[in-house]
């Protein structure tokens, strides 16, 4: 049976969305799937987003089946709005930000570690399993709505942050396949999805809005992460083409940090009035602060906003305490805290400080998004100008944040300030919609953003030499995948043969770089600065003796191999060890087990 739909899924850090379009239309008609979910115990409602939270029910709740969905036989946990509201009172029982954990290579993401630091009597799950649960929820909802169109037979596009490295993408893929997505599903970078949403909104008019040589910054600020991408307009046989030229590093700072910063400030105002907030009130406050942010950081907004926290008893007005938050203070706190005036030559502060840090995740020490942006633009533009800017993410509902960023860009590029690309104002849903549109263009033709891999990849090679006790052998980095290697291509990595020991598992340290753009396969780096190469999960291959059974085994049980890398049509990175003379090859797999420092 052939596919009837193309489906775009935004598996977000804080919210997930599914958009779809039927394939029997002339033009894509992208719609959002209403997602049935528990919003409280025993209460099922359809919402357009599924909050990416998972609550582990208590034994009583499980026994009473308080969190029962029509399709599920598992009452031990719940995902969505209900889980999000329960996270306030029961942080120890609630998993959040699983996606940020997926991108965090310092922990073993297959191990049950979430909720982080939960007491022993709470069931823990791995970041991969949590992601799988959210996707399973979306898949089940899909099957309720379209029982005759199994998702495994549809064209599915799933988005990931552009800053996700190969191992985080592979873990996402693993969760997606376990949730029942088809083998053929495609990963798409979120800022590209936002760009596709814009392309869908403007249609063919984009060719009039952009010209050859234009460069567009896509600034995607989600709940927990900031994702930067630079798209260039080129020309190929007389046709305009879009090229993803650069992506930023994985930045763990986003809209939630801003709401939390404001809530922290307002909580102090309440303390001044003698009210110490309990957890339930804190979350109510967080919610109020998001509204206050959107109202005060709006150009035509009021000069002050009253934030009230009701008491917990049934006496609502009697228990109410209010404080007034001034526009000037909020602007100062949020704009200067997150979008400080910066020079294009500024760099983010390096040290991991404790400011907004939650235990475990490596949140950014420097919450100044403008400084991260400066570093990214300085590197990726290399002196050239920026012509356009596309905003994405719910944060930009606060128009003052858009103005501030634009103002900053005008100061950096005074001669030709970039203009804002106005696409969909559907900031919360454009990634899913764009992913769906991308799936459509992939099948039916249409504008495509080309880019290939966002990073270059390296295998660590320990050099031979006299062993010195206590000193590791010098490490070199062999480039195996160049930046921008396109889907559907492969390359033999030229290098001197490397000897693998038969019967032992060979482990390679593995590195990636978002900013070394010119390294070619086979280049051997002798040294690099810490911000150039970041280490991710190591790679592993085992050569069993039976693989080498034709008597030609070298004397010392070494098999000489070279590397071969391949990016599949679906964007999956594969690395192989190739025995040149015997035509044998072994696939290197990510090993996310032993080297996690848990």
């Amino acid at each position: 049976m052939s596919a009837q739909f193309v489906i775009g899924i935004d598996l977000g850090t804080t919210n997930s969305v599914l958009a779809y379009s039927a394939l029997n239309e002339e033009q894509p008609q992208v719609q959002l799937l209403p997602i049935l979910q528990l919003v409280a115990a025993n209460t099922i409602e359809s919402r357009s987003m599924l909050p990416s939270f998972l609550y582990q029910c208590t034994a009583d709740e499980s026994a009473a089946k308080s969190f029962l969905l029509p399709w599920s036989n598992d009452f031990t946990f719940t995902t969505g709005y209900g889980a999000r509201s329960l996270s306030a009172e029961f942080p120890d029982r609630t998993v959040g930000a699983a996606k940020s954990w997926l991108g965090h290579s310092k922990v073993d993401r297959h191990q049950p570690i979430l909720p982080w630091h939960a007491p022993d009597d709470v069931t823990k799950i791995s970041p991969v399993t949590a992601s799988q649960r959210y996707l399973e929820h979306l898949v089940a909802t899909w099957h309720q709505a379209f029982p005759d169109a199994p998702i495994a037979e549809q064209n599915v596009v799933l988005t990931v942050p552009a800053s996700f490295d190969a191992s985080a993408r592979e873990l996402t893929r693993e969760a997606a396949l376990a949730a029942g997505l088809p083998d053929s599903f495609v990963l798409l970078e979120e800022p590209q999805a936002a760009t596709y949403a814009w392309l869908n909104a403007v249609g063919d008019r984009w060719r009039e809005l952009l010209k050859v040589g234009d460069r567009m910054l896509v600034c995607d600020i989600g709940g927990g992460t900031t994702d930067l991408t630079l798209v260039e307009v080129a020309e190929e046989s007389g046709e305009l083409t879009l090229q993803r030229a650069a992506v930023g590093n994985h930045l763990l700072v986003g809209g939630d940090n801003m709401d939390l910063a404001l809530a922290h400030y307002v909580a102090q105002l309440f303390e001044g009035k003698g009210l110490t907030l309990d957890p339930w009130q804190s979350v109510s406050l967080w919610h109020s602060c998001r509204n206050a942010k959107e109202s005060l950081l709006c150009e035509s907004g009021p000069d002050s906003h009253t934030i009230s926290v009701p008491g917990r008893s049934s006496r609502l007005i009697g228990g109410l305490v209010s404080v007034t938050v001034e526009r000037a203070q909020t602007t100062d706190l949020l704009l200067n805290g997150f979008f400080p005036e910066a020079q294009l030559s500024d760099r983010p502060a390096r040290a991991r400080a404790s400011g907004f840090r939650e235990i475990g995740l490596p949140y950014e020490a420097d919450t100044g998004i403008t400084r991260h942006l400066a570093a990214f633009l300085k590197q990726s533009l290399a002196g050239r100008s920026l012509t356009h800017m596309l905003f994405n993410g719910g944060v930009f509902k606060a128009s003052a944040l858009r103005s501030r960023l634009l103002h900053q860009l005008q100061r950096w590029f005074p001669d030709s300030p970039p203009s804002i690309v106005e696409g969909s104002d559907d900031l919360d849903f454009s990634v899913a919609r764009g992913a769906c549109f991308y799936g459509w263009t992939k099948l039916r033709g249409g504008v495509r953003i080309r880019g290939g891999t966002a990073r270059s990849y390296y295998i660590g090679i320990e050099t031979a030499g006299l062993a010195i006790p206590g000193v590791g052998r010098p490490l070199k980095a062999l480039c195996v995948v160049p930046n921008g290697m396109e889907e559907g291509t492969e390359v033999d990595v030229p290098s001197d043969p490397i000897g693998l020991i038969v019967g032992e598992s060979a482990r390679f340290r593995f590195f990636s770089s978002a900013n070394r753009k010119t390294d070619q396969p086979g280049e051997l780096l002798q040294r690099w600065s810490p911000d150039e190469l970041s280490e991710t999960d190591s790679l592993e291959a085992t050569l069993s003796a039976s693989d080498i059974d034709n008597g030609n085994t070298p004397d010392d049980d070494y098999v000489p191999v070279t590397f071969h890398s391949r990016i599949t049509e679906l964007g999956v990175l594969e690395l192989w060890c190739v025995h040149e003379s015997e035509d044998k090859r072994w696939k290197l797999e990510f090993s996310v087990r032993d080297d996690a420092d848990l």
Binding site: A3, Q4, F5, A22, L23, N24, L33, L36, A40, A41, N42, T43, I44, E45, S46, R47, A64, L68, A145, F146, D148, S288, T306, S308, P310, S314, L316, I317, G318, L320, S322, K442, L443, R444, G445, G446, G460, I461, E462, E486, G488, T489, E490, V491, P494, S495, D496, P497, I498, G499, L500, I501, E504, S505, A506, R507, G522, Y558, P560, E569
Partner: protein, 175 residues
């Protein structure tokens, strides 16, 4: 941690030229194949043992604390105190009603403008006031534009019969 078990053999056998193969060039735009597509199926709601009205009350209390507000004697409070509480209730209950019912005016014309009556009279969309005689008046002044729901998405409650009357459970903190 057994890292790399390999020897770096110094063989000057020369580097291989990079062979980049374009495996698959995407075919040009495919013509739309004729595909039968079923419309989304309305999901059969699970059985509920409670009236939708009570479920709606529970939602108004859960999201906007409306029942607390209406049940509280407000005579003793100043208008400012009541006003401070109302803002949040207005926002939260309003948001919930928009989501579940998407309430819109019955007539889109501005209040105070002249509107025709004919087609609207019999289907309950308008109520005539003023000098209403036995004849069928053709037009009048719009005093109130009316309200209608464009959908009704009350949550489905799946609890037990014993709990059906609970709008909000009592909260007891375990210390």
């Amino acid at each position: 941690m057994g890292r790399i078990s390999l020897a770096w053999q110094v063989l000057t056998s020369g580097a291989f030229a990079a062979k980049v193969t374009n495996l698959l060039n995407l075919p040009p735009a495919l013509a739309a194949p004729p595909i039968a597509v079923a419309p989304p199926k309305p999901v059969a709601p699970p059985k509920t043992l409670r009236s939708d009205a009570v479920t709606l009350l529970a939602a108004l209390q859960r999201e906007g604390r409306l029942i607390d507000f209406l049940k509280e004697p407000i005579e003793a409070y100043s208008d400012a105190q009541v006003g401070a509480a109302v803002r949040d209730i207005h926002r939260d209950c309003g948001g919930m009603l928009e989501r579940q019912f998407a309430i819109r005016p019955v007539l889109d014309q501005a209040e105070g403008s002249n509107v025709t009556i004919a087609a609207n009279a019999k289907n309950g969309r308008i109520k005539l006031t003023g000098k209403v005689g036995d004849g069928s008046p053709s037009s009048g002044t719009l005093v109130h534009h009316g309200w209608l729901v464009t959908k009704s998405d009350v949550p489905v409650w799946t609890g037990t019969a014993e709990a059906a009357s609970i709008v909000a459970p009592a909260e007891v903190e375990v210390r």
